[in-house]
Amino acid sequence: MIEVENLSKRYKLGSHKSDTLRGLLSSWRFSQEKESFLALDNVSFSVSQGETVGVIGRNGAGKSTLMKIISKITKPTSGQVKIYGRVSSLLEVGTGFHPELTGRENIFLNGSILGMTRAEIKNRFDEIVDFSGISEFLDTPVKHYSSGMYVRLAFAVAAHLEPEVLIVDEVLAVGDVDFQRKCFDKMQDVGKSGRTVLLVSHNMEAIERICERTIVLDHGKNVFTGDVAQGISVYSGVNSGNQSSRRWNTNDAPGNDKVRLVEISCRDSNGVSQNQFDCRYPIRIRFEFEVKAEGFQVHPAFHVMNERGICEFISGDFHHPEWGGRKLKTGTHKMECIIPGNLLSEGKHSLMVMLSSKPVSSAPYINHVNIDNCIVLNVFDLVEGDSARGLHKGPYPGVLRPKLKWNVLS
């Protein structure tokens, strides 16, 4: 059980003057105000016994600082943390591993660094070796290990800690996919066995799968505490450095003397520009462009890419039965494409936006505007039961997430 009360941590910026004797002497003479920043700003929350809580937030949000304070590695500037029970923290796998020592020796060394007693390590030694799957290299110095083997052994030791409170920072993001799955399962077991787990991760899949609650940090502040799905949507809100709408002045609008893109935006069903979209409802992609040459024929189009860079689908005005390929008058034109609800999967989608033309039907398209990663769509699922995933909270595969119709035939 962990109680965090009004926790703040201030770091001084710039070089520590007192790092050299000369600096110390001069700082005695002129005591100067150093610049500082708050890595944690009045954070409070509590985690009850047996609960698994995920801490999310973008880089620099204060997650690691929070973990370091709870792990007693560094002191808070103000506020306090109360911890009931034996704490083990896992901020890194393989802390203290020495390349010259064998796998066997490193198990004992790393185990005791993580706070296990020699007897505990001995008891679980076989399990650890088994979990790591490197039994035949047990007496080889770890410097001869592949990085994969190294990580597996390191995680195997960590996975066999049995504290009452476990603090884990981003260590699941190691090893190959199979091994990661094994680690997930192990983490879930830990959570289910009544131990309190505090997990930091950028991997939303892991958070969704393992955690019961989330804490979202942003710029050192605790901006959300509660339900996992909501937490994740709050996180993607603070995480999108990219805009979901862009508008340009006529002077610097992308394009050429034929056509210029003035605005591209993502709007909800009411036509209001949004950052976050519920996966169940349609999203409107609005184009506004200025045609400069009379009678110019322009096709607005976009590609939707997922976070792995895979193109999910494309669309363009050629989908419009009458409008597509029509010659346009000079001036501003607005077009809108509606992406139906229950199509996009959860997460971040980026749009490549194009304005192109095709002077002769047999000729290839000419791009006048082509902006990769132009805007970003954030899609979330509240898991209320009427989306494609229903009430299933675990991982839900698929590039797209259509909610399809099923018929009962017999």
Binding site: H16, T20, K72, I73, T74, K75, P76, K82, L114, R118
Partner: protein
């Protein structure tokens, strides 16, 4: 067993982490004593890893040092050792000094070298310099063996004062720990000490009466300089160790300066370390 009971206690009472709470407690060292052993064992294990003759090096080093000092002080300077063969005299002088020098040399950088651990895991930081002091005991043992062999070869009897030896060994441990803890803490803030320590080790070998009687040095020095000479905590300790093994001249009158310097060094080191302890992960 005792620390286990403390440990059970901790489970029921919350541990409070705040700016005021000290992250350094003595009961914690007890809880982490296995880590202390493991770190010492690791140092020992990797010290001669991938060397052809391994542990033989542990013997070669003291033998070479003794030989060099014998040539300089025994042959060239021909210092008066009061009838004891100079080589045995030097070996006994080096017993405490080598240990002290080892700890001094290895503690300074110790926390910086362990920064990957210090930044990622909690343990009482003082364990790092302590582990160096523990590994140094191996060198102390090796030196003792070399000395014992030389005493047999040169047929030098053991002194009747031998029973006092543990007191002086204890003082050597305290002095080494004191300097080790001081240097490990200071080097975190002032990297300058990385350059100062090798010089201290080199100079220390000559200004400590390892290969000559302290009398030999202070008879040529004014009173105030003799006083400074004995500010070196090992000056008195080395004389004391030799006196309790070889029946040489008793530690000279000014040795009390050393005997006071030892606990002062040790206790102040603990205070300074405690002061800096909570900030170590931020400073390293």
């Amino acid at each position: 067993m005792l620390s286990d009971r403390i440990f059970v206690h901790v489970i029921h009472k919350p541990e409070i982490i705040s700016n005021r709470s000290s992250l350094f407690t003595f009961s914690d060292i007890g809880r982490y004593r296995e880590l202390l052993w493991m770190l010492a064992w690791r140092d020992f294990r990797i010290r001669y890893a991938q060397t052809a003759i391994g542990l033989v090096w542990a013997f070669i080093q003291p033998v070479l040092t003794i030989t060099i000092l014998y040539v300089i002080f025994g042959r060239f300077a021909q210092v008066d050792t009061g009838g004891v063969p100079h080589i045995v005299y030097t070996a006994s002088g080096l017993l405490g000094w080598t240990y002290f020098a080892y700890v001094m040399q290895n503690s300074g950088n110790s926390i910086i070298t362990a920064q990957a651990m210090v930044k990622k895991i909690y343990f009482p930081r003082i364990i790092v310099p302590l582990s160096k002091a523990l590994v140094g005991l191996i060198d102390l043992g090796v030196n003792a063996i070399v000395l014992a062999l030389l005493m047999v070869v040169f047929d030098v009897p053991i002194s009747v004062n031998f029973y006092v030896l543990p007191v002086f060994i204890l003082m050597a441990l305290m002095a080494a720990l004191g300097i080790g803890i001081w240097l490990s803490a200071l080097t975190i803030r002032f990297r300058d000490f990385q350059y100062v320590v090798p010089f201290m080790v080199q100079l220390g070998l000559y200004i400590t009466p390892t290969a000559y009687p302290a009398e030999f040095a202070i008879s040529k020095l004014p009173q105030w300089a003799s006083f400074i000479y004995f500010m070196n905590p090992m000056a008195g300790v080395v004389e004391g160790i030799r006196w309790s093994i070889l029946d040489t001249q008793a530690p000279s009158g000014l040795s009390y300066v050393s005997f006071i310097a030892v606990p002062v060094l040790f206790i102040t080191s603990l205070f300074y370390f405690q002061k800096i302890d909570g900030k170590i992960a931020d400073l390293v």
